[in-house]
Subunit: 205 residues, 4 copies
């Protein structure tokens, strides 16, 4: 209940971010198939960013399921995360329109890096609020190797942008792939406490 | 409860998709009625796409009513559907601005085709999760002739685009019409289990 | 519960409609106060349309409070209403940028007229579904003089556009003012059935 | 429950306002780092406005938690607040693109001033509806020094715009900082009445 509006607001912002990125696919004047060809790198960068927003939505979804009460710090940590994600459409368009050139690819990696840091801050604040190391969330994420490895790989990607831009793109895509496997860890621990409630329900009907 | 955020996020994305399409109706500089005339094919393609998003919203609404628990696969199948639908504004604008020319009409049909496939995948995943052939949803959709016929007709429409573009438009409009009849099948089966609860309610007041 | 998603989707579409209208306020290049002057008619038409969307949101809010179950016809009647309202940003921009010229003012009135008809259809469908003349909603709206007078005044406004465009604007503003008095009729009847429930609640705690 | 839709609609509008501001960050054609430099004042004004919308969302969130029943006046006071906030993207872009020039900075302050007044009206209406000086909200905000000081500082900022525009920016940033400390006053009083309910809950499980 407490997190309802935080979720609704985040859903709204993420839904708009994901959708305004498609506005960069400018409608060509020609009706030939060839007219679509220059749009392909833009489409490719759109797909990558769509997947990233999807990943953030999924993880945010799991994360907030573990929260019982919100507080001011949590709300600002959430706004902070949304701020960096809101810069993704800009970075996506710059990178896509310039065929994954060096500087735009590095800036794209920078936005991913800052978003990952912002997510980490939000997650840490929730762990503290919900009971520290003994909290469900803390046990759920365990060593959190994905959360720790991702920023490192983004930095590697940023560095790669200046030598082999296509390699940077590959690294960003690779990190996305590791995250597309949904955060089953949280899913599992959250569900642990539910079966009892579920078994109890039918008896009330 | 479990599906609340998946619905909210999908509602957000669909609401934005439906609304950004109207931005293609560029405000004319002249104030004559004639200034609106070149907008008519754009308006026509907008109406068609508005109806399609309406259909997807309705069916998505019925579909998620049958879901009790979400999982990672379901969330990605949902994102996948939203991805293809998010390309509809682009395809709509390209087709509308070019008076239903061959290639844009074919691309429009392609987006409809991929959206239908994505919907089918989501529906199949939900059936598996909710109990296979014995699930309410499975019984509700029965032979699912509309779900199976639509992709076939989209392919016919794509083919027709290159010979008689106006025919492609008619085929897409025809498919839409068959779907505007809401998915009463699911509605019926879902309602089956409710009357008891409804009768019980007044007694509690 | 049943109407949750219909409300959420409508809220989303209305929120976007109200917000994209502001995009017509193009940022001037000059930094002089005079640079804002040509924006004034656009701002004025924005204020009028903002109020109209506000009115529709309020009335839609009251309307759906009386609904217990949605059905296919209701969903399409709702989409139909959203369709006409989605054309308001276009009509608003055309009218505002042309200083309330004849044809744009008439088209603006036409969109208001069709929205009013669409709202009337939705309201009628809900009355039928919820029990006809004996339904709470039916008693609430009574003779519905505002709902019946408004379309008539819109037609008068459309006619006036071609002789005295400023008069058309005044008529649209006048109708808006009659509606800004919220639909207390529904509010009252809906509340009638609540006190009992409210009194009952504390006893359960 | 009663305020659900008012919150959902406000969340939608605020989410869109926050996101369309980022559209002003126009994608540069060059791929040099220097191409981003002219975007810095736009980014800076975006950060400031992002924080302001975040502040309004947080305070709105706390405010509506204290509301049990909505009425027409409250809904219009809420629309009125959303109207002024919807002008923030325009003011932000004008100020950012002109490197915090005099007139745009003054207009930006004017939008902040009117938003503060609109918020004050909404808050006052809620206090009256929820029981006047004895209401939870009234006790929560106490002397409301921040709510009273902010409009004064905005006026000072507007005046400063014409002599030292950078000073105006500093004043707006300073007010934002005083508000980033979340409205713990309301948080506290609202929570006062909850512990009992919370203790009661487990006993029902």
């Amino acid at each position: 209940m407490e997190t309802n509006r935080l979720e609704a607001f985040s859903d709204g912002v993420l839904a708009i971010i994901i959708t305004i990125m498609v506005l960069e696919l400018k409608v060509p004047h020609s009706t030939e198939l060839a007219a679509i060809k220059p749009l392909l790198p833009i489409l490719l960068s759109y797909v990558l960013s769509f997947i990233y927003i999807g990943i953030y939505w999924n993880n945010h979804h799991h994360l907030l399921k573990t929260v019982k009460n919100t507080n001011g710090a949590m709300m600002w940590a959430n706004h902070h995360l949304l701020f960096w994600l809101s810069l993704l459409p800009f970075a996506t368009a710059w990178m896509g329109e310039n065929h994954f050139a060096a500087m735009p690819s590095a800036v794209y990696g920078g936005v991913l890096f800052m978003s990952a840091i912002a997510y980490y801050i939000l997650q840490s604040l929730i762990i503290v609020e919900e009971g520290g190391n003994q909290s469900k969330l803390s046990r759920a994420i365990g060593t959190d190797w994905k959360g720790k490895l991702s920023p490192v790989l983004y930095v590697v990607g940023i560095g790669a942008s200046f030598f082999r831009p296509w390699l940077a793109g590959c690294i960003y895509a690779f990190v996305a792939m590791t995250w597309m496997i949904p955060d089953v860890r949280i899913e599992k621990v959250v569900d642990e406490s539910k079966p009892a409630a579920r078994r109890a329900k039918p008896s009330r009907e």
